[in-house]
Every structure is written in structure tokens, then in C-alpha cells.
Subunit: 229 residues, 2 copies
Amino acid sequence: MDLAAQIASIPMFEGLDASQHANLARIALEKEFSKGEVIFSEGEDAAGLYAVSIGRVKIYKLSREGKEQILHLFGPGESFGEVPVFAGGRFPAYAEALEPTRVLFFPRQAFVDLVKRDSSLALNMLADLSRRLRRFTSLIEDLSLKEVPGRLAAHLLYLSSRQGESDDLVLDLSKTQLASLLGTIPETLSRILARMAREGYIELRNNRQIRILDRESLELLASGETRLS
Amino acid sequence: MDLAAQIASIPMFEGLDASQHANLARIALEKEFSKGEVIFSEGEDAAGLYAVSIGRVKIYKLSREGKEQILHLFGPGESFGEVPVFAGGRFPAYAEALEPTRVLFFPRQAFVDLVKRDSSLALNMLADLSRRLRRFTSLIEDLSLKEVPGRLAAHLLYLSSRQGESDDLVLDLSKTQLASLLGTIPETLSRILARMAREGYIELRNNRQIRILDRESLELLASGETRLS
DNA sequence: CGTGCGCTTGACTTTTTTCAATAAAGGTGG
DNA sequence: CCACCTTTATTGAAAAAAGTCAAGCGCACG
């Protein structure tokens, strides 16, 4: 697939005409990262924004002691690194490839110029950032208002909804990474999965596969109406 | 102050010309809320966005048991309720007046039309949402990577920076509200303030006034390099 | 085939919350 | 301006949740 075609397939760039796709293609650079490679670091000067072509990228924060909080996971068609492009300054977090990944890079000034000239692109970006704010709102809610079993239950149900409402889930992250996404540590996650299994809510099939046995109870947990004995 | 002048003084609308301010003034409605009054509720259909003229507004989430997490505090010149305007759907949180408050309300469709026609307004909005994402990033970081003493220390230093780097701080929130902002409960906040005072980091002058005695130690706490004995 | 990393589990500590009682503050109407 | 009453703040004791440390297992990958 050539650059312009790749660009046309990115949701953020929907509704632009071919010449604008061509303009974007002219300023875009392709970059490749291998698994575990850092794409940018917190505090780094932001030269532009990124869109995933192939692979997956995690955006995360690190505490001084090395504990990690995942903020986002982005896959093909999703963009990241917009914040400093529009707000100025530096990257507020780290970005790292979770697997071999190819991204498109759009230099800041050229991109801003394009947004200036194209109001539908601007509205796409506004919608994009708004959706991201909404997801952050719900992450903040989860972190401060729910305890880990509730967050985990919500995540399992989310996975199920993304996998066709199936009761057989496949984790797309290691348990360590999942713990980081849920704002906890692997030991705690492990214990809570074991408790959920003991209570008959789920069945641990193997490292990466979980079967939902009692969806209602998970929903009650996720909404905070119940707690895990 | 008339509507157009009020609108011209809102940072989000900087860089627009007088005719655009007039357009905005034409679609804007003034609304008043008394202290404690709810401006909108989570899940409500979003009819437009708001900007504070006078007063203060808190944006917050509620857990099922009634625990509150404050997401934002907005004062004069600041806007809120943008997310559903651009992302569609409903308000993701509650908004409530902290004091007698006057706001401007901009109906959704009319506002979007204006953004479409004016790329500098669009860029202002993009910068605004980006800054908000950055603040959320740091709230998430705090909630999941720091414990309460660190969050409190960071907040005290933030207050100090907002009050001219003075060591004499005036809380602009009740302790209950401050606890909600920090993602904890009043009892815990009270205990940690008492501990900080016992350790000589601060002096509790009265309900709303705190003096910083040991700024360095607070900075170490806030950055997670130290913990409170 | 071995080494390492990720996962699990146990025992323990720390942090935070819960519940309850009291004290202080703030606002209101007399 | 004061007395009253409601709301807010503090403190203690106990419980719960999560994190730390350490050991052991297993699977995966080189």
C-alpha cells in the first residue's frame, strides 16, 4: 500500500479529498520500531504526531520507582502524540511499540498548517481529542472510585464486547501489562483473578484465555454494586 | 459588561475578530446558578457548551456509594462541556456551581458551525482540549502512581505557585472538596495534614490557611523520592 | 536444553477506608 | 450580636485493600 492510500485509511483523515491526502503524504515519514522500542519519551521535545500503520503502541507513565501506568493502547489507524502539537511543549508520557510496528510521522508545523486550511480535518481532530478526554474521564473514575476487582471485571466485559460478546476471552496483553493498564501490580491481579475463579465468575483456561462463567456477577462488580468475597 | 465584551475576554475566543465575537454573542445565552446548583448531570443529553463568566464550577464523577472525584475546577474565562459537542453523545460527568455563578451557554450546532468557518477558533479549541488532556494525564499519573501524601504535597506547592510562591496558603476549597480533588476522603486528608504538621513540613494556621515551613521536603514528597514517616 | 522472564502464591507491611464519636465552624433567625 | 443548629473537620480503633518481599514454578525462546 502506498503512502496516500495508507493515509486515506486513517479515520482521523476521513473526509479529506485526494489532494489533501497527497499533501499529507508529502509531509509524512514512515518509521519502524521493533518490539519494546521506545518511540518517544516523556519530556522529549515534540516534533510532530504519529499514526500507527501496523502494530501496536502503548502510551504510559512511569513512577520514580519504575511502576508503570498505561494510558492508552493504540492500533492500526489510531494516532498519538497530538497533545504537544496543539498545546505546545513536550510529550507528557512515553510511547513504546508492543510489537514490530510501523508508524507514519507528521512534522508539527506542516500538520498544523494543514489543519488550519481544512476545517473538516480540524473537526476530525476535535472529535478525536474529545473521545480521548472521555476515555480519560472514565479511567480517572475507575482509578479513584473503583477498586481493582471492579476495574478488572469492567475490563473483562470490555474485552468480551470487543470480541463479539463471546464468553471466551483472549487477552491481548501479558498479565503484567494488564496490571499496568488497570493501575495495579501483577501480584494483585493474579490474586484477584484467582478469587474470581474461586467464586465461579470466570474460568482460567490458560495464560491468555479466560472464560466468563457468570456475566451478571461481573457486571455487578464492575458497577460497584457488589464486592468480591 | 455586554455579551460581546464578555466573549472577547474568554481565552478560548482570543484571536477572533469583532464580527465573530458578535456572531458568538448572537447565539450565546446567559444562565445563572446558585451555590450548589447542578448545571448538568452525567448522562444528560448535551445541548451545547459553557463558559464561566462569574463564579466557579466543579466537574466531577460520583460512585454508586456517593463518593465524589473532582475532575476539574473552572473559573472565569474557562469553558466546559466541550466533549459531547465534538464527540457526540452525552455529558460524561456532573457540573455544579461552587458559588453563585453566571455562565454563557453556546448551543451545539451553532457553535460547531462557527468552528467550521473559523480555523483559528478551531485551533484554539484544539489547544484547549490538548491542555486538558495533559492535565488529565497528570491526574491519572498522580492517582495511580503516587500515594495521598505525595498528591497533597504537590497540590500545596501548586497552590503556592498560584498564590505568588508565597508560603502562606489559602485553601480555595473546603477540606471535603479538597479530599475529593485528591481522590481520597476527608478523614485521610485530615490525618495526613496532621502528620505533615507533626513532621514540621507545614503549619495549620486555621481551617483555610496553611503555612509552608519546609518546601524542600514537600517537593521530595511530591516527586515520590521520600515518604512521610 | 538451559536460562530467563513472567506468573503465581504465601507471609507480612503499609496505606487507606470505614465506622463512630466528638469538636469546631459557619450560617440563620431572633 | 448571640444562641442555635447544621455542616464540616478531627481523632481513634478496627477492618479491608493493595503493595512488598521472597520463593518457586513453568513456559517460551534462544
